[in-house]
Amino acid sequence: MSRKPAVNRRSFLKGAAATGAAALVPHAAANAAPAAAPQAAPAQGAGPTTPPVGVREVDPVVEVEAGPAGRAGSDFMLDVLKSLDFEYVASNAGSSFRGLHESIINYGHNQSPEFLTCCHEESSVAMAHGYYKAEGKPMAVLCHGTVGLQHATMAVYNAYCDRVPVFILAGNHLDASERGGSVEWQHSVQDAAALVRDFVKWDDTPASLGHFAESAVRAYKIAMTPPMGPVVIVIDAHLQEDLIAPEVASRLRVPRLTVATPPQGDSGAVAEAARLLVNATNPVIVADRAARTPAGMALLIELAETLQASVIDQRGRMNFPSRHPLNQTLSRQPMADADVILGLELTSFPRARPGVRLISIESTALYIKSNYQDFQRYAEVDVAMAADAEATLPALIDACRRLVTDDRRRAFGERRQRLEQAHVRGLEAARAEAAYAWDASPISTARLAAEVWAQIRNEDWSYVSESGNTSDWVFRLWNFTQPYHHTGNSSGATGVGYGAPAGVGGALANKKRGRISVNIQSDGDFLYAPGVWWTAAHHRIPLLAVMHNNRAYHQEIMHIQRMASWRNRDITRAHIGTTIENPDVDFARIAQGMGVHAQGPITNPNELGPAIRRALEVVKGGEPSLIDVVTQPR
């Protein structure tokens, strides 16, 4: 590593300790006592200082005397990050990236990116995950390359499985001769990104600032090219903290970013797919992560209406309006009748009868790793396009239109009528089914979904997360029409703990649009890293969180029941290790303790509507609100 700074990090920190401490003093305090004696900066791990009431991260920066010489390396790193237009950086503060942290809040005035104070790195990454799915661009995450990245791993894996870009910057102390006390040694690692290399798309450990600039821009480009995915850049503490030598400064530049166009399917394969679809008797379109952008939903509608084909939405993204007549997601019949199935960015291709012709368009075919087995069972398809589905849809629509004859058009019309009738029957059946246990306590998940829908249906709303299983009542009863109405499920592989932070991240993206963000929050998910509710309160992130509190890990109860039954053992003991009772968790009090408006536990279904109305007023005022609702299992 080439480092010839005029002032190195150790001497700079020693000489600038007083200045640094003054820079940490909030605006009001600095004005009140300009001649106060310098204080030592708080040591890492020391208890937090109490800021004056009303001071927030957006306060104006206090201008203080410059350090010994010029800019620090992390100032340039921030220049690079600003060129990538990050709106936020989510982080739990850590010493291995204190240089960049300080640059963000002072050199960068804590704007673009703004520092989000998180209480756990899993929350940081999952917030970035949820934010991307609402905003369509990545959030940066700052963490220790060791203990921080270790906390972050499950959320990184979730993002990887869901093909979501997250831009992770991991601090490290590479140069052993420059490491301080034992903590810096314990926070150092030869190859920080090795921990997550199996489930990130790319990583690098830059050895110079120029290297950082190039790798950061490259990482962004890679993360945003389908199949998207998280990336890691390891940022050395010395690179951050050393001042930039003049001869280095003169060479530094921020590379220009050009995001790659997504790959489109081969024209021959597109033509063959169109031929199969147009000639099919019962074609079915199955979409999971198909709508990569808001335009994706319109394209999928266009394709479905060109063919008058059934659409099954697996909901990895907001692919298709829930009440479009061709939406047959609630019915098993289309898959049973299908003779041609088009799969668009599927996690797993559905099993089909022998003889059914299968067409796959998936960008994941372009980038697969071997260790983690998220690539699923090998699908024996007839046409396999290693391409981005949304980018391929225009060509596929055109190809289909060219093949449609008058005879086929008549057949399509008849099919449309049949599917419309089936769709209406499905909606009617869902409403009739919802009436069962309507007045029950614990509250039915159908009642829960209907009560929330009644309050938000006339608002500009966005369903930002779901954790736990509510028997799909939200999708059976709500009318999803806009691309932003659902940020999409995370992926089949989602580990518990994604829902709350992803909901907060999605709500943060929606905040500037004044959109009402809604999260159906399960109890088990809440308990993983509940500090994210403090983050939501602290940053005033408006989110309506309505709990599906069934006081158990019900999926696991069923697994244990099945095991006991299979082994001819006692099935009545399946509650051991799978329930969250004795004591019941008081979620409202936990949330209140973190500064979140909260109500509950609500067990009477007649009290739910008024509680949601109260919560909605709080959310409209720009704050998060949580309602603990004790519910039926599913």
Binding site: E451, Q561, R562, N568, A574, Q632
Partner: protein, 127 residues
Amino acid sequence: MKTWMLMLLAVLVLAAAGATAQTQAQTPAQAPAQTTPAGDADAGKKLFVSLGCWTCHGYEGQGGAGPRIAPRPLPRAAFTRYVRRPSERMPNYPERVVSDEQLGHIHAYLQSRPMPRPIESIPLLQP
């Protein structure tokens, strides 16, 4: 033994085995209808919870991960038969875990659940 005699013997053995299996399969279906008294709904409610039926079917039997089974469950004999040999993802509940009599109580509990209100009387469920 001649080959034709061996074949005849095999056919007779298979036929006898098939008849036995058929008899065994029919027994559970017929027995409850003939011998089991009406169940106790209160006892059935306790069993419904302790056996974990509610985790998939809901406390009211309204359905969830499993299908709706109340207030009109399968007829008693078919109900018993299904619990003993379920299809799809449901674990089987053998007689050692829940007796026919106990299943009768559960059946009575499910039948005791109220019918849903007319959908027209629920404003939140209107289109």
